[in-house]
Subunit: 370 residues, 4 copies
């Protein structure tokens, strides 16, 4: 942190600042220029907020130089983290497509969607059992029954399952059934929940809050990392702006920004980000072109009757077309899709020859259900 005193600051003001910082165990370096005194602060300043320091008498400005997160930072770990979810690797050279219904409505539609996802080229299955809904009168999800249906769909299709967990007390049961735990946008700063998913060992997909800055998003990831779980996948899903043509504004520039700041993988959700089926394919392609490690979409056998998010869900027959389009974009930037041969085969050949510099995926040998 660098602190700039104003031009009326007295020696006493300077001493108040340096004294307080020293008492907090930080080092200070005072530089007296022609017009102003500048104080450099040395040590772990993460616990000192610039706003606090700026409220001291005589302080003009306090600027944090280091990011407010540590384990999530590229400065701490320069090689990209590859999150392994039952053999599907997110953050490596391959781009993954995750597909499935917004809500698990019943066994039959879930199985039908899972099969279409599998044959359409998806690497993982998504589906909501616990559903956060703006209105208390909307369908709230099947809960435990939904988790069991998802497990059954995985059994049949061999697709690892990602599903949302909404409250700390649900973490254990969700982790027992699913392969990756999703934190929804509205819970991005539900810190008790972040701590709880940080304490267990399944990979976590952390959606960006619709009003969260990139800094806050990475600090939310830091919660999970700090509690011991290093397997975090970030997911951009649109931020709230004044524009009403789309449900949210998909912030694709967040993809290269985040790639530069952190070693964690980042995927994109073009369905929630736009709210309109027609925009899913162009924005998914754009996301891969921008460097996203994966795409997560909603699909439904009959979107018109879906209990949630119908307007932004793809029809099942659209999955394979999207998958093919993404393959072309991936190839254009020197990546490929995983799995490479989705034509009904349950085997997933590794089409991308792994380059030498690829990081070895973290072993997650104890994962149940894959």
């Amino acid at each position: 942190m660098v602190i700039v005193m104003n031009d009326r600051a007295t020696d006493k003001d300077v001493e108040l600042v340096t004294g307080n910082l020293t008492r907090m165990g930080l080092g200070v370096h005072v530089s007296r220029g022609a017009e102003r005194v500048i104080i450099g602060v040395i040590g772990d300043v993460r616990k000192v907020s610039p706003e606090i320091v700026e409220s001291y008498p005589g302080v003009e400005r306090a600027v944090r130089i280091l990011e407010p997160y540590k384990l999530a930072s590229r400065k701490v770990r320069s090689t990209p983290t590859v999150v392994d979810c039952c053999g599907v690797q997110v953050g490596g050279r391959e781009v993954v497509l995750i597909a499935g219904p917004c809500s698990v409505e019943n066994l039959s539609m879930t199985l039908e969607t899972a099969r279409a996802a599998r044959s359409g080229g998806a690497a993982m299955l998504r589906g909501g059992a616990f559903k956060p809904r703006s209105s208390p009168y909307s369908f709230q999800g099947l809960g435990l029954e939904g988790l069991e249906i998802l497990a059954q769909a995985r059994g049949e299709t061999d697709l690892p399952v990602v599903t949302e967990v909404m409250a700390p007390e649900q973490v254990e049961i969700v982790a027992a059934h699913a392969d990756m735990l999703q934190i929804g946008a509205r819970n991005m700063q539900n810190f008790n929940l972040l701590q709880e998913v940080g304490r267990q060992r399944k990979p976590v997909m952390l959606k960006r809050g619709m009003m969260a800055s990139v800094d806050e998003w990475l600090q939310a990831a830091e919660y999970v990392l700090a509690y011991g779980n290093m397997q975090v996948v970030l997911c951009e899903r649109g931020i709230r702006t004044f524009e009403t043509q789309t449900r949210f504004t998909l912030d694709l520039s967040a993809v290269p920004v985040v790639k530069k700041l952190t070693h964690l993988p980042v995927i994109v959700d073009p369905c929630h980000g736009t709210g309109k089926r027609d925009l899913v394919a162009p924005m998914a392609m754009a996301a891969v072109a921008a460097g996203a490690d994966g795409i997560i979409i909603e699909a439904h056998p009959d979107p018109e009757t879906a209990l949630s998010d119908g307007p932004q869900s793809l029809r099942l027959e659209q999955i394979s077309g999207l998958s093919a389009s993404l393959s072309h974009i991936a190839a254009a930037i020197g990546r490929c899709m995983h799995p490479a041969l989705p034509q009904g085969s349950l085997s997933r050949p590794q089409a991308c020859p792994k380059p030498a510099q690829m990081v070895a995926p973290t072993q997650d040998s104890g994962v149940r259900g894959c």
Copy 2:
């Protein structure tokens, strides 16, 4: 809901829409105009989203006429709700000031602040025991110890206590110690938490999410009401915009907007809303002028060393000046502050002669600790 078909819609398209709605138990009224077919929908359309209907073939636009909330609506209850918290009434003719530290740091600073709040004219004490913090490395609050300190401060000053609850499993313990439960901005759409505070009987203060529209805010209130707790106080605390001179943009127009839509009381938090001590007094006065039922502020014996939110906390000696300023504004609009005589007296005379049309405060006789 009114559904406008597009100019290429076929009879089959119209039938698909009316058939689906009828199966959901709704009535339809089809009107064939010169150019377009318009379908009026009758019944409780809260569970049907306009976006879903707009994704049907042939539909140009679907417009919800009723608000997506019911118990919170002025249409269901036209008289204002007065929330009674241990004799302090929020939402009546009197304007209340709630003051206290951002975080409960220890017994001594809490008592000192509570006494200053009391003598400065505050009607209630605020203070954080469980603290939501953006960074896992920031002070996270004293937890249970903090709750006990707050109860002790209430015992000495007779000020009812409001404090934040962050997770469903904390509701019971917080409700056992505090007189009003605060849902923080970042938890406004933590639906499991909303349900849990809806199930208990202490009053709830629901802060507006920094990214929440007024509609979403009232739907969040609807969760609490729908689970049985009608004692909800809304709190505007700033929304996120592009402006960086203030920490958030305090949306004071939300006060008259909300007053028109709902019968619930609404208060304003000018400390979080601006992030700067200098702006607290003018924005608090503006809030009362705009019709707010109360003001909640942060105060600290030594803001420079506060563990959180120091820059936006008032000094203790500023409370009474703010209180006096608010009294003048309240008088200018025909209201008054409660309590009327804060000069060290523990009795709180009712200075506002209650007009005949005032709603009788809901009895909350069983509240513990007052």
Copy 3:
């Protein structure tokens, strides 16, 4: 400006920075701390953008300490500027109400509105002759004919007139007819227009762009000041956010923020800021409570048939009620309204006893038409 080099910066990197700044005529002060080099820059750094400096190799962060404006800054002129418009002083102890139709539609409705403004307590008349409209198919204003109608209304009511100027080539004709020139929100960064109104001598009302930060707003004012016109009144009129209950979000915190940064007066437009008639009075009162020097509103004899902005225009009979409400708020904060006695009298007694510290209003003796 303070420049913080990163921890990998070489001596050559430091020399590149200091060399470039020195060549621009700026002084530098290099401080080598334990971990980083910090460079203080001395002189007029307004022409150097921090973003430019941050793009130099080895630079971690460049922070501007001084505001990017000079003549508008409180640091250059600490006493408030009082703008005198034909004897109506904006920015002194008195609060002014400016009222009139959005568009000048014809002579009759303009006279009727001007008379109602006069008797209702307004100090100035507003009205649009040149109208910026989002759609080319909307009513575009009467142009020169509108200016002449406004002049006629001034002749009858003795109210100074403020009206919008939309293009550099209109400045001369508008200045010949009106007493204050308004720059609309959509033209806040129309720099050619700002220069042109800066070159003439009538006072200028500068509306904040709906997307403009406070910094950009004050830089826009700086254009006018820098071209020689020191008579600038700022006008907050709402910024664009995600909230749709109001047309814009009126940023009242901008009032005390701006008061701290600049000596220029600031008024508030609650009609455009909210877009709804019902919200005008509460937000106008809130604005005065927050410290605004005036309120500008739209009024119309028959808002239902207005050619523009009907939904947010007051009915004529509402003006005096608003005026009375504002008087009460003004009194509550130690100010008063101008004129004090609006009951049909053309004389305007100075009700506020001028305190000794009041700045003498700038003489504007040559103004035509008052």
Copy 4:
């Protein structure tokens, strides 16, 4: 437009609405449902604002069904408009790269940049002669001298030139020197300027305002079209949001949204949209993947000393790399770059075999300077 009356509306309320609309020459169709009256309005309702109608007594909601623009709408012209600028076609199957300095600083750097643009694969040259700057103390452009330098660069490289025009009185001189006229983001609603460029015949590039909705952007385009100039290229350049990691938030979803609503071509400016050189390539690739018809970038021989926008300008040697990357993305979606062979050759072969359904480019035979 469809008007929904509220449940307390009287027959007189309905008559007021229908009477007013009929007097405006519109047809009405009244439908009386079980609970409410619904009024369908027939005819050109572009001049009637829903907000006006909603302010009538008894009206619950008024909904515009048609877009507020006409000539710009896909409903009026379903085939894409291909804007021809001296043989470079924007909006066809080929994707164009436009490159050049932010500001024309002098002849030498402009020629050097133009040559690099040419050999790097750009189809057009950009460069600012009249510069809109937030601060009056920043470099304001070379003006006429800049225009002449641009013309000289075109003479040498054969690249058509696009440059900004800032005021109505500049239109003639800019049109005499340049091949395409740019309207900057801050002037998107400078309606006098839009009318003026609508009256001349050079193609126009209309940047989206940083706070403009897509609807307002297309209405701004409508101004140009309505005044007779059908050669409009839209340019997305980032909107303002709360995120500060990027200068603006590039709204790539606007590309497919706009493509669906209008027949006009749309290009993307990733330099202004992000403000950071490192983000230009990924966002340019993403833009092409999303369907953009072109990319406009800033380049400079020595960005560190650029007089404006240095941090977001590419180095000259980066142009050809970007161009190659874009070619791969274009190929992945079945398009190609124009020109196909940029290796120093002045001939531009048409690499994309024109499909049969391609629209014939509008002839612009009289254009000077190509």
